[in-house]
């Protein structure tokens, strides 16, 4: 049985990116805003403000759809460095209350406060104290919903119960009631597809899921069926782990806003083009730039890759992607680019909306020095460029091939002598 005396706090920042922007800029407060990528017209809403959510705008909605639902919405380009810095600050606040802090995503953390709080009254006081510190140190607009429960899964469900700025306490004896008041897909780990499959099996709520024979769930879902059964009992009958623990997601591989990911399984970048294109030169230019970014991140983390996956999305939102494997692992952007382009070149690249690549089959450590002088020279050039980038930041160097070429009409005497 799960340790019944555990007390877990789940803290989820409300409309995080939008709230940070509203804290920074008081003229955005009280307005429906959506945080997007740089190219707002072709982007999605990464976070909608509380005001925009109230008007029906949802996270991951395309900007044109959001504008249709809420014509007054104002789009604001996101600032990942700002969100990352604030994330470190609120996690530092949490660490002043307990050393057992587990960041779950950029705006959520679990805190095991069993020893520090002693009981649920102490936990509630601690939650209020954390809320005061957030208000004092980050500002009044950056608010959080807090759930207190005997395990991660229930604490996360509890924090989602009252939004924004809620505080929900679920004692062990109240867990089943909380589940029975929730939809199946409110629980972290049950998505819309699983919900559909459960519906098809005649299960539409947690009471039915609890009563459904465990063996039948395991037959349908294998080990995930066991997890579903235990989750439906809220970990009351036997230990239940959070979905991330069940899936074996290590802390280091969880999403961050740009920090090192030493245990990452792949490195990738994709880019939605400013406008759809069929121009191979433009596509090559973007792909080369992305490959260089991937290569730099791998060299920074002392990692090499043996596989490249290249992919495109077309104007009709269909996509195509393939992968190839290198004989020797590499972290050189040029080699990644050449392989990725060999994958994409044979495809009919018409009306391309997005292009990207990722490198996988990673191994730690650098490659063996090449026997060929030209390749050894390239390696030393790359390490010199990496030093520059470490010192002065990204964007300090670019390959000439990735720069946009602007052809100007050349005149000779009184006449233009050629057309471009």
């Amino acid at each position: 049985m799960d340790n019944p005396s555990r007390i877990i706090l789940h803290i989820d920042m409300n409309s995080y990116f939008a709230s940070v922007e509203q804290q920074a800029n008081p003229f955005l407060r009280g307005k429906p805003i959506g945080i997007t990528g740089k190219n707002q017209e072709r982007s999605v809403v990464a976070t909608a403000s509380i005001e925009a959510k109230a008007l029906g705008v949802k996270t991951a909605m395309s900007t044109w759809e959001a504008k249709k639902i809420c014509p007054s919405i104002m789009f604001w380009s996101g600032d990942p460095e700002k969100y990352s810095d604030i994330m470190h600050r609120f996690n530092t606040i949490y660490e002043s209350f307990t050393p057992h802090v587990e960041p779950f995503s950029v705006d959520e953390s679990f805190l095991d406060i069993t020893e520090e709080a002693e009981d649920y009254f102490g936990a509630t006081c601690m939650a209020q104290a954390i809320r005061s510190r957030l208000h004092e140190e980050l500002g009044e607009r950056i608010t959080a919903s807090i759930g207190i429960a005997p395990n991660n899964l229930m604490a996360k469900l509890a924090s989602g119960h009252v939004k924004p700025n809620g505080l929900t306490v679920v004692r062990p004896e109240d867990c089943l009631k909380l589940l029975d008041d929730s939809e199946l897909d409110d629980l972290c780990g049950i998505g819309p597809r699983i919900k559909e499959r459960l519906h098809a099996m005649g299960i539409s709520n947690f009471k039915q899921l609890r009563e459904f024979p465990r063996e039948n769930l395991e037959h349908e879902f294998h080990s995930y069926g066991t997890w579903l059964h235990e989750a439906a009992w809220a970990g009351v009958r036997s230990p239940v782990v959070g979905f991330s623990e069940y899936k074996g997601v290590s802390q280091s591989s969880k999403p961050t806003t740009g920090d090192l990911t030493p245990d990452a399984k792949s490195y990738g970048h994709s880019y939605t083009l400013p406008e759809n294109t069929s121009d191979a030169c433009v596509l090559k230019r973007y792909l080369f730039g992305l490959a260089d970014k991937v290569g730099w991140r791998m060299r920074r983390d002392n990692v090499t890759a043996r596989r490249v996956t290249a992919f495109v999305r077309f104007g009709d939102f269909s996509s195509h992607g393939e992968q190839r494997t290198f004989h020797e692992p590499t972290a050189d952007g040029m080699q990644l680019f050449h392989m990725a382009w060999r994958i994409l070149e044979p495809i009919c690249l018409v009306d391309v909306r997005l292009i990207g690549l990722s490198a996988s089959l990673l191994s730690h450590g650098s490659t063996q020095p090449s026997l060929f002088k030209k390749e050894r020279n390239m390696t030393s050039v790359l390490s010199a460029l990496d030093e520059l980038q470490k010192r002065y930041g990204s964007g300090v160097w670019k390959r000439g091939a990735t720069l946009q070429t602007e052809f100007k009409s050349r005149s000779s005497g009184f006449h233009f002598d050629h057309e471009v």
């Binding site: 804290q23 003229f27 810095d85 002065y392």
Partner: protein
């Protein structure tokens, strides 16, 4: 109106409670009194850490960047309501 800029500016600051608080700035030959420091955050530029101050007066939001290596202030963002 929202503008992304990178203009050098003069800033008057107060050092209070172990914090740096911009009080006024001069940009485009005009003086702006800063009413509110809404948010301060940092970002890395290579090995260097720079500071951003999100401040406002009654009509404008300004994002100011302080480069601690050169002690240089720049106005990097301006938003005027309406």
């Amino acid at each position: 109106m929202h503008e992304i800029l990178n203009d050098p500016i003069d800033v008057t600051v107060a050092f209070k409670d172990n914090r740096v608080l911009p009080r006024a700035m001069r940009w485009n030959e005009r003086e702006y009194k800063i009413d509110q420091v809404n948010l301060v955050h940092t970002a890395r530029e290579g090995t260097k850490r720079v500071f951003y101050f999100s401040v406002s007066d009654a009509a404008n939001y300004f994002k100011l960047k302080l480069d601690p290596e050169f002690l240089e202030w720049r106005l990097v963002e301006l938003y005027t309501d309406g």
